[in-house]
């Protein structure tokens, strides 16, 4: 056995705290270690060449590299030893940076620990055997969850590359929050004018299948081969027959909240959410329908000229196979009412959210774009905007910045002036966050060209007085209290993750933060990947962001998916479980615990039923190893023998 040990200095990252020379000496004193050296940057080109040289010149058969986290460079070094002619798995990485030099300051102690870790690696690599990976075919179909601008963009990009896409949207139409916006910063182009064509394109694309009123029920499988159950919710309308004439909506007597208009105005129990909806198909909401509540009505069925109404319809589950999944479930607004009793807690009709105001401004909104305040329909003259409601506020548990509020307030102040020329907007802000291209100029224009008065401070309280609202705030720049008589108050409420985001994450086995925004695999280098292979992120489901960032991220996800599926098959890790079938008792505890369904029963020639691992399904999690009573199932590369040898070395 000829073992080589390479100790990385990582510049001063390791060498400043660990005396690498001593680690080299300690390695050389070990049995079978024929070569040891320290290298300034092992991952660099000259560093890798030194490793290859040593392997070839000294005929090394096993290698230990003591450096950084294997998450960083395991693949790099596997390729290095591979290039030197060894089996790529005859290399063991030991982490003396994150696990040692970065967290210790005492040089002697850190060096001792680095030596221990190195010795452990040697003990382990001694028992390593060459491993060989296999390949599995991939399913060249993609699931996109969430039909906002992010999901639409990702679906179109992937479909244009020739891959079939299924776009699953929970609501009755795609479009997401962007479909509700009036005009968009910083160019003030009309939101639906730029979004509607994309929605139609998605619906008509030969490679895209739209599934609205649908949700992901269950996900099985792994990268390249997911099995997904999709729940097609009953809408009581046959989508094939409905022509979108809206007669049902006109005649329906059942009033229902208007979700599309963010609660401004009212809708019907059966409705098409907005005139540009895609698909243009009505949906019935049973919880508001008289037939389902009182047992009597059926007006829509009588009036529908296409005979599309079907009250008997039931939820269906469809199971489909996908090679990759893009999650684009977007955001909802933080519900401010309970947290801000001092702003009326939702009791004052003329305190609205910015999304409601967006609908009030929109020509397709409930008032056809005439701004009328909710209480008495009067046109407001003094409009006060309050930023950071439910954002940057630790007292309500929301310290994060919504990242778009400053921008959409500036936009809405400009639009207010355009709609009502004799109006005056006041904007309370803490900092103006306008980092994007053209953004700073845009917020300046709101002040300079549209006369919005910006007050640097938070509002403490709003109270009603003589049919108006009094806003009590501070202008910290003059260090004075201010009071403004407002006709309308608009709150820039913060972003929250879409309802049920955490639950979806658990189904997909991806991680999320304390606000249920999904976590990217690495904040800088893997911003659209998740911790689960084959699942990617796009848009505001990952954190608050505006449309340009959302679209950029969606296209980035699409590129990753296309890259992944461009290969016909995927190489699987050889570090999978293996059963010693001679000693297997056939209890199948392993099959019960395996989260990936990777264990099957096979019959031996003597008729015994024993466990068998399906290599392509096994993810190497190791749960079965623990469950197996006679301990005859083990993970290649992590065998009991190796783990015990490592532990013994540490305990010595």
């Amino acid at each position: 056995m000829r073992i080589g040990v390479f100790v990385c200095e990582c510049g001063t990252n390791i060498a400043a705290t660990v005396s690498t020379g001593k680690v080299v000496d300690a390695a050389l004193s070990m049995r079978d270690v024929l070569h040891a050296e320290s290298i300034q940057y092992t991952c660099s080109d000259p560093g890798q060449r030194a490793v290859i040289d040593a392997i070839q010149k000294k005929g090394l058969t096993r290698v230990v590299i003591a450096s950084c986290s294997p998450r960083m460079h395991e693949n790099t070094f596997r390729r290095t030893v591979g290039r030197a002619g060894l089996n790529a798995y005859m290399m063991e990485m030991v982490n003396i940076r994150e696990h040692c030099s970065w967290i210790h300051s005492d040089i002697d102690e850190a060096t001792d620990k680095a030596i221990d870790l190195m010795q452990k690696g040697v003990a382990r690599v001694r028992r390593q055997v060459p491993l060989h990976s296999t390949t599995v075919p991939v399913t060249k179909r993609v699931l996109v969850v969430g039909g906002g601008v992010a999901g639409i963009q990702a679906a179109l990009d992937i479909a244009d590359a020739g891959l079939p896409v299924t776009l699953v949207e929970r609501g009755p139409s795609i479009g997401g929050n962007m479909a509700r916006l009036d005009k968009t910063f910083p160019t003030l182009d009309c939101s639906s004018c730029i979004l509607t064509p994309r929605m139609v394109e998605a619906a008509q694309h030969e490679n895209i299948e739209l599934m609205v009123s649908s949700e992901v029920e269950q996900v099985r499988g792994y990268i390249g081969n997911f099995d997904v159950d999709i729940r097609r919710k009953a809408t009581c309308v046959d989508a094939e027959k409905c022509t979108g004439c809206m007669i049902c909506q006109e005649k329906c007597p059942g009033k229902a909240p208007d979700e599309f208009n963010a609660g401004v105005g009212q809708s019907k129990a059966i409705s098409i959410p907005f005139p540009q909806a895609v698909p243009l198909v009505a949906a019935l909401r049973k919880e508001h329908c008289r037939l389902f509540i009182k047992g009597k009505c059926s007006v829509c069925k009588k009036v529908c000229p296409a005979d599309a109404i079907d009250y008997e319809q039931e939820d269906r589950i469809e199971t489909e196979k996908f090679g990759a999944i893009v999650v684009a479930t977007g955001y909802e607004l933080f519900d401010w009412r309970e947290s801000y009793p001092d702003y009326g807690g939702g009791q004052y009709p003329d305190v609205v959210t910015a999304l409601q105001y967006e609908r009030m401004l929109s020509a397709s909104g409930p008032n056809g774009g005439h701004v009328q305040r909710p209480s008495d329909g009067k046109e407001p003259k003094n409009v006060v905007f309050i930023s950071c409601v439910g954002s940057r506020d630790e007292s309500v548990g929301r310290p994060l910045c919504c990242s778009v509020g400053c921008m959409y307030i500036a936009k809405q102040a400009i639009l207010t002036k355009e709609h009502i020329p004799d109006s005056q907007s006041y904007v309370f802000y803490i900092d103006i966050r306008a980092g994007g291209k053209g953004y700073e100029e845009f917020t300046r224009r709101a002040q300079r060209d549209f006369g919005a008065i910006y007050l640097r401070g938070r509002v403490g309280k709003i109270y009603p007085s003589n049919g108006n609202l009094v806003v009590m705030g501070t202008d910290t720049l003059s260090a004075e209290q201010v009071e403004i008589d407002a006709d309308l108050v608009v709150l820039a409420t913060g972003f929250a993750a879409a309802e049920g985001a955490g639950e979806l994450a658990r189904k997909l086995n991806i991680s999320y933060d304390q606000y249920e925004f999904f976590s990217e695999s690495h904040p800088k280098l893997r911003p659209v990947e998740t911790t689960t292979g084959g699942v990617f992120l796009a848009g505001a489901c990952q954190g608050p962001k505006d449309i340009p960032d959302t679209v950029a991220q969606a296209s980035a996800s699409a590129a990753k998916v296309i890259g992944l599926l461009s290969r016909g098959e995927l190489e699987t890790s050889p570090m999978v479980a293996a059963v010693n079938q001679m000693r297997c008792t056939g209890c199948f505890k392993c099959r019960d615990v395996c989260p990936y369904g990777a264990i099957e029963a096979v019959e031996l020639r003597d008729g015994r039923e024993v466990a068998n691992v399906i290599d392509s399904l096994c993810q190497g999690c190791g749960v079965c190893n623990v469950a197996c009573p006679p301990a005859v199932i083990s993970l290649k590369g992590y065998t009991d023998g190796q783990l015990i040898a490592e532990t013994m070395e540490l305990l010595r």
Partner: protein, 187 residues
Amino acid sequence: MAIRVSSTVPGGADVVADIERRSGERVSACYQCGRCTSTCTGAFAFDYPPHRIMRMLQLGQVDEVLNSRTAQICYDCMTCSTRCPMNIDVANVIEHAKMIADERGIEGDEKEIRLFRLAFLKNVRRHGRLHEARLLTWINFRSFRPFNDLSLVPLILRRKKIHIVPPRIKNRQEVHRIFREINGGDK
């Protein structure tokens, strides 16, 4: 004139650290949103509204804070504290500035307010609860206006708003203990 920030004010940072330690509040967490000031009920009479006091402490302008009218006359209504998005008990911070000013014998411009506050505390400390008759006489003498509001005395007595004999409460030593703990030692 340029302001002097903590590195140049002798002991400035120490006093702020002292306030943070004794009050348990994080002065450094204030991000100057001004919400405390927005509904401060006393700010009309202050020289510096509460968010400015927070800022001055961050910069170590300790003398200005200890000598401010704000530190003398803020009456702990705690409106600021209920509003602060960073969960800072602003009134508590100001209260500790007030205590440190007292410890240093800083009288400030609001002599009567200070006199009243100290007399009030002294009175409660001694009797375990307020003994109004004594408080009034004490203040009148200390402010050199012995006959101030004397004409009201018969009315007050008749309405039993005030008692000549000091109140008796159980466990007076408990009140003493509270005072000792708040002051971080006896004085």
